[in-house]
Symmetry: C2
C-alpha cells in the first residue's frame, strides 16, 4: 500500500499544489492538514504561496478561530457569488489561485475530478495512503495523544475485567451481576457510556463471546456463559484530539476448555514473537509471517471450514493507528516495506474457529530505532 | 443539488450497473444498499443479474449473516488471488461481472476511476445526491427509526432543561449544581454519556452560551452565566439503526435581555411561518425565503459585521436527516425543487450576533401530502 510513496524517494522535491474536498469525518488527511473539524464537506488547498480552507458561512467565524494559524479561511458563499452558475466551483478556484495542476488524493471525488479535467486542469492522483505520508511517523505530540487514548481504553478494560470478576455464575451457567444477567449489550453500553463521560467516543465496541468471537468484527450480543472465551476489542477516539486508542483482551469466566487455553498461549506466543522483531527497518510482512509461524508451530492451522468460512488466523497482524482507527502502515503479508521509527501499529494475532469462538490479544506500540515502546501496561490473562 | 436527479425524469429506465467503493462510515449509500456496516472500505455492485458486496476475509462470515438477503457476499482475498498483481482489482471485477459501463456516485474514488477508464471501462458519474435518490423519501420503517432517535434527543433535551432549572445562580452570576459550576463541557458529557447508555452515539453536541452561540457550529465551552442565551443542538445517531435525530432549543437561565427575547420570538415566528407552508409540492427555496421574510418583518437584518463575520440569519432553513445528519433535500435558497411526501427535514431558523450570541430553534418533520408531521413534542420556551 505504501509502494508508491514518492515522498520518501531520493528525488529532489518539486512543489505540487494540493487540493482536498471532504468533510473531516470522511478524510483524516483534511483534518490533519487544517486542524479544522467540520461535519460537512469543505475545501483545503496548498499552493506555492498559501494554504487555505474554504468553508460555508455557517462555519466561517469558527474556522477563523480554530484552524492552524498559517491557514487562510475563505467564505464559500462569497466565492460562489463571484463564480456564478456557469463554471464548476473547483475550476473557478483553480483559475483564481493560478493552479493548472493539482495533486489530489486517491479518494478525491470523481465528479470534481471530471469537472477539473474537462476544463483542462491536470490532476496527479497520489496513490500514497495516507495523502500526507508524514502522518505515518508520529510526532511527540501525536504519541502523547495516542497514549492518552490507550490509557482510556485500559481504564475501561480494567472495568470490564472487574465486572466479569465480580459476576456470579447462576444455576444455568450464565453470568449475573447484582441479580441481572450480564450481556454483551449491557457491557458495551456501560463501557461506551463511561468513555463518553471521559471525553472519548466509542461505538461498536466488541464484546463477542463463544462462537461470535470467531468473526473478528462481530460486536457480540446476548447473555454470557461461564467457560466461553470473551473477545473484548476496545477502541475509543478522543473527542478533543481526534486520535484513537485500540486494544483487545480475551477473557474466560471460570475454567477455559483445553483447546481455548492452547489457543490463548499460542496467540500470546505469536504476539511476543512478533514484538521481538519490531524495530525501525523491520519488514512489515516478515513480522506478520513470524507471528503466523509461531501459531503454526503451536499446532494451529489456517484455512477454511466445510462451509467456506475462514478459520485459524486470517487477518493482518496489525495496522497503523492515529487519526484513523485503521491506517498505514499495515503489518500484513501485503506490506513488503520496512517499519520506521514513529510508526504506531497494533500487534494483534488471533485464532478463530466457528466451533468455539476466538482469541485475540492486541497491544499498541510505537516503533523506535532499535525496538518499540508499548502504550499498554495491562497484562494478558485468560481466566478470571 | 437535486437538479440532476435523472431517476425522477419521465424517460424510460434503462438498467445501469452500479459500483460503490467505500466504508459504511464514509458512505451512507453503501450502508443503505447493503445493510452492512464495516469500518473499512468494501465494494458494492449491482448488475442486471445480481447484487453483491466484496469484503475482506475478516468480515466475510459476519457479512454473510448481516447483509440484506438478496445480496451475495464475496471474499476479497480469494478474488485478489485470481486477479493477480497486474490488473487493478476494480478492472478485474468489471471483467468478471461482464460490465463495461458502471454508474458511480459523485464521490467515487478518483484513483479507482482512473484505473477503470484506462482499461476502457466507461463510467457514468451520477451527480445525484444521494446516489440512491429513493433515500430522500423515507419508508415507514425509516420514519419509525428517525422518530426513536428524535425521542432520545427530546429525552436528553428535557434532562438539560431540568439541570438548568435546578441550577442555582452563585454570587458571581454563574450557574451551579450541587456546589459545582455548570459548564458546557459538563453538560455535553452528561448528555452524551447518557445517550450512549440508551444506545445512541452523539459527539460535538452543541451547548454554546453567550457570544459562542453566534457561531452555529461552535460546540461551546466554559461556565454558563445567568441571562445569556444557551443554544443546545442535540443530534444522536442510533447505534442499532444508523438513523439520526436532530433538534435545537435555546434557553436563558433567568431573565433574557430585551433583544434576546425579541430575537427568540422572531425565530419562533419564522419557524411557524415556514411550517405553515410545508406540504408535498412546496418549493424548498420558497419555504426558506418565507422564514427570512418573517425575520426581516420582525426587524432583524442579515449581513456582515465590520470584521467581515456573518450575522443575522445566514444558513439554510433546514436539511434532510436520515442515515446522514445533513442530507438532501436541503431547504435552502439553493434548492428550487419541490419537497415530496416522505422527505424528513429540519426546520431551524436562527439569528446570530457576535455581541450577544445566538437563537436557534429546530424541529424535525416529515412532509405529507397536505402538510407535515412533527417528530417533536417538546415546546419552545426561552426563560427557565
Amino acid at each position: 500500500m505504501l509502494q508508491n510513496n514518492d515522498f520518501s524517494s531520493g528525488k529532489a522535491k518539486t512543489f505540487r499544489a494540493k487540493l482536498l474536498i471532504a468533510s473531516s469525518e470522511e478524510s483524516a488527511d483534511i483534518f490533519y492538514a487544517s486542524g479544522f473539524h467540520a461535519p460537512d464537506e469543505f475545501y483545503y488547498y496548498e499552493t506555492e504561496h498559501e494554504k487555505g480552507i474554504i468553508v460555508s458561512p455557517l462555519e466561517y467565524s469558527r474556522a477563523v478561530s480554530e484552524v492552524r494559524k498559517e491557514i487562510r479561511v475563505l467564505d464559500r458563499s462569497q466565492l460562489l457569488k463571484e463564480c456564478g452558475a456557469e463554471v464548476p466551483f473547483p475550476v473557478f478556484l483553480s483559475r483564481r489561485l493560478g493552479v493548472d495542476c493539482w495533486q489530489v488524493p486517491a479518494r478525491f471525488p470523481f465528479a470534481d475530478a471530471q469537472d477539473l479535467l474537462k476544463a483542462g486542469i491536470r490532476l496527479e492522483c497520489s496513490r500514497t495512503v495516507p495523502f500526507f505520508p508524514e502522518r505515518m511517523c508520529k510526532t511527540g505530540e501525536e504519541i502523547a495523544a495516542i497514549r492518552k487514548s490507550v490509557q482510556a481504553a485500559e481504564e475501561m478494560m480494567r472495568l470490564l475485567q472487574y465486572i466479569l470478576t465480580e459476576s456470579k455464575v447462576n444455576s444455568r451457567g450464565f453470568l449475573e451481576l447484582a441479580g441481572t444477567v450480564v450481556t454483551s449489550e449491557f457491557l458495551r453500553s456501560e463501557l461506551e457510556g463511561s468513555f463518553k463521560k471521559m471525553g472519548y467516543s466509542a461505538s461498536r465496541t466488541i464484546i463477542a463471546h463463544g462462537p461470535q468471537g470467531s468473526e473478528p468484527h462481530n460486536i457480540g450480543s446476548g447473555p454470557i456463559r461461564k467457560g466461553e472465551p470473551i473477545v473484548a476489542d476496545i477502541f475509543p477516539r478522543s473527542d478533543v484530539t481526534g486520535y484513537w486508542g485500540d486494544m483487545t483482551r480475551t477473557f474466560v469466566k471460570g475454567k477455559a476448555a483445553p483447546v481455548v487455553k492452547r489457543a490463548f498461549h499460542a496467540v500470546l506466543k505469536a504476539s511476543e514473537t512478533a514484538k521481538s522483531l519490531l524495530r525501525s527497518g523491520a519488514i512489515a510482512s516478515e513480522v506478520h509471517q513470524a507471528a503466523c509461524e509461531a501459531l503454526r508451530n503451536a499446532g494451529f492451522r489456517t484455512g477454511r471450514t466445510k462451509e467456506g468460512l475462514p478459520c485459524g488466523f486470517f487477518h493482518g497482524l496489525g495496522h497503523g493507528v492515529g487519526l484513523e482507527i485503521h491506517e498505514a502502515p499495515r503489518v500484513s503479508p501485503l506490506n513488503p516495506n520496512p517499519l520506521r521509527a514513529g510508526n504506531v501499529v497494533s500487534v494483534e494475532p488471533g485464532l478463530y474457529y466457528p466451533e468455539w469462538g476466538g482469541i485475540r490479544l492486541e497491544d499498541l506500540v510505537v516503533i523506535t530505532r532499535d525496538s518499540f515502546r508499548s502504550f499498554n501496561t495491562m497484562g494478558m490473562e485468560l481466566e478470571l
